[in-house]
Each structure stands twice: as C-alpha cells, then as structure tokens.
C-alpha cells in the first residue's frame, strides 16, 4: 500500500517500482483528459493539433473536458497575463491529483518577448509545470513530441520539469546553404 500511495501523490520523482505502477502509468498516459486553457495565438496551433492532419486523438489525449474537476492534463496555451494569473492558479488548484501541466508555447514557458508590466514571465512562476514546449507558436509536431515526452514521464512517474527538444534538422534540409566552391 505504501508503494501505491507514493506513486499516486504528485510532485515526486522516481520510477515505477512494480507491475501495478507500470499498469497505472500505462492507463494514465493513454487516457489524458485535457483542460485546454487557451488564451492566445498558440490556440490556433492547438486547434490544428486537434485537427485531422495532426490528430492528437490518436494519442488518447484528444478529449477536452472543460471542467478542471474532470480533467488531468492542463494545457496552458498562450500568454498568461497578470490579470489572468489568479484564474489559472485557481483552476490548477481545483484539479484533482494526479495532474499534469504542459506549458504550450514560449509565452507560457517564459513570457516570450512580452517582457513587460502585464505578462507573467512563465507560468511556472504560478503553478508547477511538467513539460515546456518552446515555439512561437510551436508546430503541431513539436506539440506531439511534447505529449509523447509527457507520456513517458507519466509511465516512469517522473515529475521533474523538462523542455521538449527541437528535432535535429538534417544538413540536407537546411535552406540557404550553397554547396562549397570546390565541387
């Protein structure tokens, strides 16, 4: 019983210590109910990720629940302003454990280039975050990468915040490179 409660609580890093934990992790990661806390331009890419081409539904994370009580994944999509921050904090507090938070976009991760009197410089100043997705706005592929990263973390029981890494671009694809002159 002690082992199960250790995994059920939030905010602890560790790894799955038993088959039951692995089963729980598997069940949780493929049935994430999202709460789309959409504010700004990233919302358009969030819509596109939910669309037919990038289809977040195939990862099991496509069911939006617009009540924090019924959801376990909080997508904070877009800029959070000082005026909005109390609402965000309250919604996070209303969610039941285990809950995960994805900071979608640069504004949610670090305030973006809105370095001014009205923007919260990153939502992790208000609530704990599991995955940061850089990008302004991030491409849907980056969003799906971050979702897969989160799913791995849920399977392992890892709660340290991570940043979804950009994919390496092969040199052949880079635009603007002229072939060297000696060819």
């Amino acid at each position: 019983m002690g082992e199960v409660t250790a995994v059920l609580g939030g905010g602890q890093s560790g790894f799955a210590t038993s088959n039951f934990d692995a089963l729980l992790g598997w069940a949780r990661k493929y049935s994430l109910f999202q709460y789309p806390f959409v504010t700004a331009c990233c919302g358009m890419e969030h819509m596109a990720t939910a669309g037919a081409r990038y289809d977040i539904e195939r990862f099991g994370a496509g069911a939006p629940r617009f009540s924090p009580r019924q959801s376990d994944l909080l997508w904070v999509v877009g800029t959070i302003t000082q005026k909005q921050a109390p609402a965000l904090k309250r919604i996070y507090e209303q969610m039941a454990d285990p809950k995960y938070v994805i900071a979608f976009g640069t504004c949610a991760s670090c305030g973006g280039f809105y370095d001014n009197y009205t923007t919260v410089p990153g939502i992790d100043k208000v609530i704990p975050v599991d995955v940061f997705i850089p990008g302004c706005p991030p491409r849907p592929e980056a969003v799906l990468d971050a979702l897969i990263l989160l799913q791995e973390k849920i399977q392992n029981g890892d709660r340290d915040p991570v940043v979804s890494a950009p994919r390496p671009v092969s040199p052949l694809v880079q635009i603007g490179l002229k072939p060297p002159d000696n060819t």
């Binding site: 789309p36 806390f37 959409v38 504010t39 700004a40 331009c41 919302g43 358009m44 890419e45 819509m47 596109a48 939910a50 669309g51 037919a52 081409r53 939006p64 617009f66 877009g78 800029t79 302003t81 005026k83 909005q84 609402a87 965000l88 919604i91 280039f113 809105y114 001014n116 009197y117 009205t118 923007t119 302004c136 706005p137 491409r139």
Partner: protein, 404 residues
C-alpha cells in the same frame, strides 16, 4: 427545512425570483480565448451583461516604443493572430503613408495575395469554431483541414505557418516563390469544395437555423454609433468595406462584391463571412493572374530597405546603410498619421506618431474586435444563456486584437 403543509395548493406557491449573477470566463471553452462576462440572469434570460476584456492585454503599444519601427512586426502579427498578414500589411501601409512611399505594383499584388489568404483563414476559423460550439464538429474539421493547406502555402512563402512577420516598410521580406501561382491555383478549388460541403451540412439545417437565426440582432443605428465595422456591420445591411470605400494596394482594380446581410443577427454574420471567403477566392484568382514573374518587390530606397547581403559583405556603402537601418532604425519624418485597412474583423487602423527617430513614439492599433465586442452588451440583452455561445462566436473576438 420546514414542513410545507400550508402550501399544498401549487397555484398558491409564490416562488421567489431574484436576478442571479453568473460568471462566464475568463477561462471558458466558448470564450475564444479570454473574456469574462458577468451575467445578470432572470432564470435563463439575460437582463444585463458586463463584458470584461483585458485578460490578454500584452502591452503591444508600450512594447512598440521599445524597439525600432521594423521591430513592431512581430508584435503586430500577434494582434489578429488568425490573419497575421493583414496586420503586417496594415502596419506597413501606415509607416509608408507617413514617409510618403509607394511600393512597386508587384509588391501591391503580392500583399493582396497574402492578405486575402489570411482573410480566408480568419473567416474559416471563425465559422468553424462557431459551428463546433453548436455541436457541429465536422465542418470545423474540414475547415481546419483547408486552413492547414493554406498555412502550408504561407509557410513555404514566409517561413512560418502562423505569425509570419513577413511585412517590411517599403516592401516585403522576400519576393514571391515561382511556385506560388500553381499552389494557389491548386488550393482555390479545395476551398470552394469545403465551403460547399460545409454549407450543405449547416445552412439549411433546422437545428443550426434555430440556434442562430434571430439571435443577437443588432440594428444599423446602434452599429454605426458603436463604431462597428467589418462583417458585423455588413450583416446589418450596410455596404461598408475599406477595400471599396478607401482602396489601397490596388483594390480598386479588382472585381469583387461586398456581401451584406439583412437583419444583423448571428445567421447573417455567419453567412457574410462564408460569402466573403468566396469573394476573397475571386480576388485571389485575379491577383495571381496579375502577379508579374519578375520585377522589384521592395521600393529602392536605401534609407528604408536593407541592401543585398552580397553588397553588404563587399562594399562599404552598403555596410553603412545596413548598419544605420539595423541600429538606428528606419526614420520616418516627425508627424502623425492614421492609416486603415480592412482587417478580418473590420477597420484595422494604425495611428502612428513619429518623432523623427528610429524608435516609434506611439503606435496605436485601432482594434476592430475591441470596438465590435461592446455590441455584445447590447445584443445579448433578452437572449438566453445558450444563445451567448453562437452570438459571441459570430463577433469573432480575437483576444490579441481586442486586448492588444
């Protein structure tokens, strides 16, 4: 609770009714971002609504005063983020008006092309989201599919799917690709097909009509006094479009019509946007026939346009010109000017004040969404809570533009 023997006769029951105050937002699925509405309700009927914007105020106007005139473009992109090229073009036109610059004709056609593509994505997103909120998820998916194709074209042209930052003072960042014409010719029939299919699902659908017809009516007099522009004003029956009244970028030479509605309700707004997509396709068809395959895109003024990179690396004059434009910024003469274009939601105006230096003194964006949103306080009175969803969706309140 006390026993209720005294009230056995139901007709004698006096049910107390007092207005209830309900809060919608600022995080709400149908609030398109972040708006808070405080409703005074009498049962289901709305007696009064207090719309509270400002939850996405990102300090656009103050941030513009921090950098140079060219550094405004990323901020301007994120104003109406569903049609970013329209904001880019609008701001370019404002600074060019102040400087007295006229861009070459090829650039004007290119601006029209990218602008109309953005306008199509704007209207498709608005209508798709509105349909989705009423329960019709399929037209939303179809419109997002077509929007992704249009974004593919814009990504190949500008480098980014959404916030392109492609406009420049005195031109555009890069000339059009040779494949642009074929790409657009391939996509226009797809847009038309999706419109036809979505129309077949929606506009004669009993449920859709019941939810949106005669809901959220706005009179012409109220609309003018409020300062409404764009599809909301055209839905009330007035033919007002900046592209026809004060043409810019060569719009007077294109053959297109302005769709107008009859009674200014939600159904009319939806239909006006749908028809405007068709008219935008018509303009695009004419524009790509007109786009020259070669010719200058940027005005040839070294104080405004960055010189060619090869010249910058090899000649001193180009290096100095490049240095001055990047470090000090483009320097419009001191003065103030108000320039307006037709954005996705109406008259998108930029009132800019320059003090002669490379730093903007004041950049004011006249936000059509903000001014249109006030109408919600008027047309929602007397409607029911469930009517808020389509009526508010038809206002197309884009948070970035409304709160800046």
């Amino acid at each position: 609770m006390e026993p209720t023997e005294e009230y056995e006769d139901e007709n004698s029951l006096e049910l107390p009714a007092e207005p209830m105050r309900l809060n919608m937002g600022p995080s709400h699925p149908a609030m398109h971002g972040t708006i808070r509405m405080v409703l005074d309700l009498d049962g289901e009927i709305i007696r009064n609504v207090d719309v509270q914007p400002g939850y996405l105020h990102r300090g656009f106007e103050k941030s513009c005063e921090r950098g140079t005139w060219s550094q405004v473009y990323p901020y301007a992109d994120r104003l109406n983020y569903v049609s970013p090229m329209l904001n880019n073009v609008g701001f370019s036109l404002a600074v060019e008006k102040l400087m007295g610059i006229v861009v070459p004709e090829r650039c004007q056609v290119y601006r029209v092309i990218l602008g109309e593509l953005s306008r199509i994505t704007d209207h498709l997103t608005c209508n798709g989201a509105m349909a989705m909120e009423l329960g019709a998820f399929t037209p939303f998916l179809w419109m997002i599919k077509v929007r992704d194709w249009i974004w593919d074209i814009l990504e190949a042209e500008t480098g980014a799917r959404m916030t392109h930052s492609f406009g420049r003072i005195g031109g555009m960042a890069k000339p059009p690709r040779p494949q642009l014409k074929d790409d657009i010719r391939a996509i226009l029939p797809q847009v038309e097909r999706v419109l036809t299919e979505s129309e077949a699902l929606l506009i004669r659908n009993r449920i859709f009509i019941d939810r949106v017809a005669n809901v959220g009516k706005l009179s012409q007099k109220d609309a003018l006094s409020l300062g409404i522009t764009g599809p909301m004003l055209r839905a009330t029956g007035l033919e007002v479009d900046v592209r026809k009244d004060n043409p810019y970028s060569g719009y007077e030479t294109y053959d297109f019509e302005i769709p107008v509605g009859h009674q200014g309700d939600t159904y009319d707004r939806f239909m006006v946007r749908l028809e405007e997509v068709r008219q935008s396709c018509r303009i695009l068809q004419q524009a790509i026939d007109r786009l020259a395959d070669d010719g200058p895109i940027n005005v040839s003024d070294p104080r405004v346009i960055l010189p060619e990179k090869e010249a910058v690396y090899h000649t001193i004059e180009a290096t100095i010109a490049h240095f001055k434009i990047v470090m000090e910024g483009v320097k419009p003469p001191a003065g103030e000017v108000y320039s307006y274009t037709e954005g996705g939601n109406g008259e998108l105006g930029f009132y800019i004040v320059s003090d002669g230096s490379g730093t903007p003194y004041r950049v004011r964006c006249r936000p059509p969404s903000f001014i249109n949103l006030k109408a919600a306080e008027i047309f929602l009175r007397g409607e029911m809570i469930a009517d808020i969803v389509p009526a508010f969706g038809s206002v197309n309140m884009i948070g970035g533009e409304c709160d800046r």
